[in-house]
Amino acid sequence: MQTKMLLQTRGLSLQFGGLRAVDDVTISVPRGQIRGLIGPNGAGKTTLINSISGAIQATSGEIEFDGVNIEKMAPYLISALGMSRSFQHVQIFGDRSVRDNVLIGMHRQINIGLFAQLFGTPHARRLEAESREKADDLLLRFELLDDADRPASLLPYGMLKRLDLARALAAKPKLLLLDEPTSGMSEEEALTAIGMLKSIVREENMTLLVIEHNMRVMMQLADYISVLHLGRVITQGTPEQVTQDPVAIEAYLGEEVTDA
C-alpha cells in the first residue's frame, strides 16, 4: 500500500478538562477517498473534525495535511492549503444572497486588489463577473440557481444544507470535511444531495471526510469507514466490512444494520 496519504493524524488527542473527547486517534486518508466517520453521539466525531480544520487546537499528536504539519496552524491558513468544511448546524451568512454565500466560499480564489474593488475597475468587474458565473454553475448543480438572489436566511432548512455543501465545494478544496451534511433532510432529499456531492467530488478528484448518521446514505457515499467510540477509533474498513464487524455493531450500529 504505497498510496500517498492526503491526511494523516498520529496519536491525536484532545482533552476538555477531565474528558478526552479525542483519544489517540491515528487515521490515514488517501487522496481521492471518501472516508466516512461514524459512531454514537459523543464519540468525538465533530471534535475530531474541528481539530483537523483548526477550529480547536489538539492537546497532543500530529496532523499532516498534504505533506504539511498543520496541528498548530490558524484555520484560515489551513483553508489556504486546500481544506474546506461544512458545519453540523448550518452557519450561513443569512443577510447575504444565496449566490453571495457561494462567492464567500470562493474568497481565496478571487484575487482582486483592495483599491481595484473599491474603485470598481474594469478588471475587478470582469473577475467578479467570472466568479459569479462559476458560483452560478455550482448553484445550478445543487438546484439553487432559481433562488440565487434571495437572502439566504429565507431558505428552508433542506436548501440551506445544500447551500452549505455548495459553499464548501466552491473553494475547490483538496479535502472537504462534512459534518452531517444531510441532517434534517428527508431520505429522498438526502440521497439526491449525496448524489450531486459524489459526482462533483469524483470529477474534481477531491478527498472527503464525512460524518453521517444515516447509514443508507453512508453506504452509498463512503469508500471506507472509520468507527469512533469514546474518542477512539475502534474499527475501520469498507462499508460492508464495518456493517459486519461485531465491534462496530455493538458500539453503534445495533439494530440499524438489519434494516439498512
Binding site: 477550529a55 451568512f93 447575504r96 482582486i112 483592495l114 474593488q117 473553494a171
Partner: protein
C-alpha cells in the same frame, strides 16, 4: 432593465438637483445640506465597520478630529494645495484606524467599546495638551485658501466639493459591498467560525474595516473644517461618536440606504427642533427610543419588510 432605467433617472435627477442647489438655496440651507452630506460620508464609513463587520467604535469622532486638524494645520502652516491637505487628512485618519484596529483584532463587544473610548480620550487630551499646535480648547480657525482660481470661501465651490466627495464615497461603498471585501465584512460578523473555515483571515479583515472606516471619517473631518471654517474640540467628543452610532442604528445597520437616511434625518432633526429649544433634546431622544423599540432593523428594515411581503405574495416559494 426597467430597474436600471429607474436608477438612471434617479441619478440624473440627483445630479441636476445638486448642480442647481447652490444657485437656488439660501446660505443657511446650503450649509445644512453640506453638513448632511458630510454626515452621510461619516455614516457610510461607520456602517461598514459596525453594521457590516460587527465592530463597535466609540472613537469615530476622533478619526474625524484627526482629519479636521490635519487638514487645517496643513492648510494654515504649510499652505499645501487643498487636495493635498485632504489627502494628508485622510491618510493620517487611516493611520489612526490602523492604530485602533490593530489591538481591536482580538477584541470585541464591550472590550472593544472600552478600547475605542480610550482612544477617544487620548485624542481629546492630545488636542488640549498641545494648544500651540491645535489651539487647545479655544479651537482653531481655518485660514482662507484657494482652489485653482477660486477662493475656498466660495459657497458654491464648497458645496460642489462636498457633494462630489459624498457621491464618490457612495460609489465606493456600493462597489465595496458588491465585491470580495464587502462579502468578507458581512461574513466575519455573521459567523466568524464559518468565515475562517472558508479561508477568510478574520483579524486582517477587521483591520481593513477599521482603516477604511477611519479614512471616511478623516475625509468627513477635512470637509467639516472647510465648511464650518473653525474647529472646536467639543465637536469631537463622545457625544458626537454616539450621535454617529444613532445615524446607522436608526437608519439601518449594514445598509447604504440606512446610512443616508440616518444622516439626513438626524442632521436635519436638531435643526428642525430648534424652534422648541429646551424640548428639542427630549423629542430627539424620544424619536431615538421609539425607533429602537419599533424598528429594530432601522428605517430601511421597515421598508424592506414591506417589500418582502409584497414579493412573497407574487413569488411561488
Amino acid at each position: 432593465m426597467k430597474l436600471q432605467n429607474q436608477t438612471g433617472w434617479i441619478v440624473v435627477g440627483l445630479l441636476l438637483a445638486a448642480g442647481l442647489a447652490p444657485w437656488l438655496l439660501p446660505t443657511y440651507y446650503l450649509y445644512l445640506l453640506n453638513l448632511i452630506l458630510i454626515n452621510i460620508i461619516l455614516a457610510l464609513g461607520l456602517n461598514v465597520l459596525t453594521g457590516n463587520s460587527g465592530q463597535i467604535s466609540l472613537c469615530h469622532s476622533s478619526f474625524m478630529a484627526i482629519g479636521a486638524y490635519t487638514y487645517t494645520l496643513l492648510n494654515n502652516q504649510l499652505h499645501w494645495p487643498m487636495l493635498l491637505c485632504v489627502l494628508g487628512a485622510v491618510s493620517l485618519a487611516s493611520l489612526g484606524g490602523v492604530l485602533v484596529g490593530y489591538p481591536a483584532r482580538r477584541l470585541s463587544g464591550i472590550y472593544l467599546a472600552l478600547a475605542t473610548l480610550a482612544f477617544l480620550s487620548l485624542t481629546q487630551i492630545l488636542i488640549e495638551e498641545f494648544p500651540d499646535l491645535t489651539g487647545g480648547i479655544r479651537g482653531l480657525k481655518i485660514e482662507p485658501s484657494e482652489f485653482l482660481i477660486w477662493s475656498m470661501g466660495n459657497e458654491t465651490l464648497l458645496f460642489y466639493i462636498v457633494a462630489i466627495a459624498s457621491a464618490f464615497c457612495l460609489y465606493m461603498t456600493a462597489n465595496m459591498m458588491r465585491s470580495r471585501i464587502g462579502r468578507a465584512f458581512d461574513a466575519i460578523r455573521t459567523s466568524p467560525h464559518a468565515a475562517q473555515a472558508l479561508g477568510i483571515q478574520v483579524a486582517q479583515v477587521k483591520l481593513i474595516a477599521f482603516t477604511i472606516s477611519a479614512a471616511y471619517a478623516g475625509l468627513a473631518g477635512a470637509l467639516f473644517s472647510m465648511v464650518v471654517g473653525f474647529i472646536d474640540p467639543v465637536e469631537f467628543g463622545v457625544s458626537a461618536s454616539l450621535r454617529y452610532i444613532t445615524f446607522i442604528v436608526v437608519g439601518g445597520m449594514g445598509s447604504i440606504a440606512g446610512s443616508v437616511i440616518g444622516a439626513v434625518v438626524f442632521t436635519g432633526l436638531p435643526e428642525a427642533l430648534r424652534g422648541i429649544k429646551e424640548y428639542g433634546d427630549l423629542v430627539y431622544s424620544a424619536i431615538l427610543l421609539l425607533s429602537l423599540i419599533f424598528m429594530p432593523n432601522g428605517l430601511v428594515g421597515l421598508f424592506r419588510a414591506r417589500k418582502r411581503k409584497s414579493d412573497s405574495s407574487t413569488v411561488g416559494h
